[in-house]
């Protein structure tokens, strides 16, 4: 038998069997055996070695941890089997203990054996039971009579007679029952009658109730309809009145406002609220523009005149200087003539008079020639002036006439 394993340690690896010294097998059976010691080392009996087929064998997976409860149970079973075995061994008949001073020893008994040679004579006898027969039932067991017999005399009518005794009781019972049931039947019948009557009454009552409710409902509907109609009528009247009021108010306001419109228009147009857009545009837009243009034109005119003035001045000055020169020349000539005359006079008098006459004739012819172009120029300058001044007046007048 496998040795009981020490409780498994909670570790990664445990060795399956405890290490131990190999023992010599005992030749004879010992009185007491050490349960912890191993009895054999034969591989054929080793529990850990599988014998036979392994199909139905329940093998635990190698890695699974054995269930502690299962393990404990198996240990318990093993322990119990062992205890049983031990008890059985102890119960086995054995030779009694040796007497005091002696001792059991193992003896070879062959020498003392004796063959039993005298045989007892034997004879074989046999018997056969009869076939089964129908057996009557065993009679009722009647115990044997004991005691003393005693007898007594009973006369007619002295004994309990069921017929007589039961009669009054039965009569009472039947009578009571019948009475009771009659009462109950009557009760039920009365109830049924009442119900029937009630039903008949209810039939009438329900019909009447419904009729009453129907009429009530009808009345209610009629009343509602009437109210609705009245309300409608009232509404119509109200609307009519409202319309009449509106119409009268309209007429009144129309008559009241009839005069108002022309007067208002009059006032407004007087105040200038109504205007001609063309006229307004002319006034607001055209006239300022026109004035601007006129001013511009006038300015140009003035500028022209100023320029002309400048030219005139320059011409007049140059002329003036030219005359002045001429005068000087003349004067010097005269002076020279005078001087010459004087010289001539001094020398010969007639020659000096002719010289002075030639000098006066040349001065007269020169003068008209220089004045003429100057007069032409002034006339040319003054003429456009008058035209410009006259023109705008005429234009405005025409346009104003057109607008009107």
């Amino acid at each position: 038998m496998a040795a009981i394993l020490p409780p498994k340690q909670q570790g990664t690896y445990t060795f399956a069997s405890q290490p131990r010294a190999v023992r010599q097998r005992k030749k004879y059976r010992d009185g007491e055996e050490d349960p912890n010691s191993s009895q054999y080392g034969n591989i054929m009996y080793d529990r850990r070695i599988v014998r036979g087929n392994t199909y139905a064998q329940h093998t635990l997976p190698a890695t699974a941890q054995p269930d502690p409860i299962e393990l404990q149970r198996q240990q318990e079973l093993r322990r119990r089997a062992m205890a049983r075995k031990r008890a059985k061994e102890q119960l086995r008949p054995r030779s009694p203990e040796a007497v005091e001073g002696r001792k059991h020893i193992d003896v070879q008994t062959e020498l003392y054996l004796e063959e039993l040679s005298d045989r007892v004579e034997e004879a074989d006898v046999d018997t056969q039971t009869d076939a089964f027969l129908d057996r009557p039932p065993s009679p009722m067991f009647i115990p044997a009579k004991t005691g003393v017999d005693i007898e007594t005399q009973i006369l007619e009518g002295e004994l309990f007679d069921f017929d007589i005794e039961v009669k009054p009781i039965l009569e009472v019972l039947v009578g009571k029952t019948i009475e009771q049931s009659l009462l109950e039947v009557m009760e039920e019948e009365e109830l049924a009658n009442l119900r029937a009557q009630q039903r008949a009454f209810e039939e009438l009552r329900n019909a009447e109730l419904v009729e009453q409710q129907r009429l009530e409902e009808q009345e209610r509907r009629h009343r509602e309809e009437k109210e609705r109609r009245m309300k409608q009528q009232r509404e119509i009247l109200r609307k009519e009145k409202e319309t009449a009021d509106k119409i009268s108010a309209r007429a009144f306001s129309q008559s009241y406002l009839a005069d108002l419109v022309p007067s208002v228009f009059g006032t407004l147009s007087d105040n200038g609220y109504f205007y001609d857009p063309v006229e307004r545009d002319c006034e607001q837009g055209f006239m300022p523009w026109l004035m601007d243009r006129v001013e511009e034109q006038l300015e140009k005119n003035v500028n022209g005149r100023t320029v002309l003035d400048g030219i005139l001045r320059a011409v007049v000055q140059s002329r003036h200087e030219a005359f002045k020169k001429l005068e000087d020349a003349i004067r010097q000539q005269q002076l020279a003539e005078l001087a010459a005359q004087q010289i001539a006079e001094e020398k010969n008098r007639p020659v000096s008079v002719e010289g002075s006459k030639a000098a006066t004739e040349s001065g007269e012819t020169e003068k008209p020639e220089s004045e003429k172009p100057a007069e032409d120029e002034t006339a040319a300058v003054t003429e456009p002036d008058t035209e410009v001044e006259q023109e705008p007046e005429g234009g405005v007048g025409e346009e104003e006439q057109q607008e009107e």
């Binding site: 009518g157 309990f160 017929d163 007589i164 005794e165 009669k167 009054p168 009781i169 009472v172 019972l173 009771q180 009462l183 109950e184 009760e187 109830l191 039903r199 039939e203 009438l204 329900n206 019909a207 109730l209 419904v210 009729e211 409710q213 129907r214 409902e217 009808q218 509907r221």
Partner: protein, 340 residues
Amino acid sequence: MAKTVISALYPPQIDVTRTPLAYGDRAIPRLNRELNDDTLLTRQRAVRSLCDHLHDPEHIAEALREGIPTSLKKLLKDPDITVRQKATESLYVIAQHAIGRDAFLEHGIIVPLSKLFDDKEDIARKNAHLAIQMISETTIGAEGIVNAKLVAKLVDKLKTEHDEIKELILDTLHFCMRVDTTNALNANAMQVYTDLLAHELTSVRAKTARDIMDLSVPLAGKDFAVNVGTVEKLIGLLQDSDPVVRANAAGGLMTITITTKGKYTAINGGAIEPLVNLVDDPNSEVRANSLKALTCLSEAPEGRATLLTHVEKIKTLMHDPIPAVVKAATIAVKVITWKP
């Protein structure tokens, strides 16, 4: 067989399950005493005897005088089922009489009795419902039930109880709704009834239809019925094989079709044809109710247009042997042929 000889021996206890009654006037006081006994067996026997004894109407007044209702009220809370069952049965018997119903209200038995609606024994529940139904038959009793706020509970029970008890509850509610319908409407009874209309028992269907008729008497009930879809179910029941179901279905329709909404729901649901077919039913109530329903439907222009083709059939009913039918037929013809 009969002989004049009578046994000298006094007969032993004939029926061990019942207390032997004391003679004459002493019977009730003795029973009352034993009802309050501590021993269970004594109580059981007493209550059984009492139950039988009360079936005789002559004994009711005396029992009430002796204060039997008080003792029974106490026994309603008894842990033993036999005692409870028989006590409720006794109360049912008492409730069949006018003075008994008065005593119920006087002693306030309705509320303790209604506690037994939740009893786990069917027989006790049934007897309790029987007694309550009996009380509800009168207006005062129905008022008592309504005041005890039992209507909502009853409507609730209607969903879960056995068919036999359902009938009793429907009866009770029928009477209660005569007094007050708001409680039932608040408990959503219309929906429950509408679901019950498809029940397989004719009596349940008939009683449900009747309860719908009661519940739709007020305006709110009619609106509820239209919203919940009761009208279509009722139209389906008009072709039922049972005359009572037909009568009550027609009755339900006649109450619902009072309102304009109800009328149009019924007309659109095709109620006119089956109703016209019911006009010559052998049952007078069916005839009367269907005529009333037709009268209501003919107030709508569409209904009138359809019914004008059936006037001749309705006119034949003006010679019916039942005066109520004649009256209903006359009104119906008048309404159908009315011209604005």
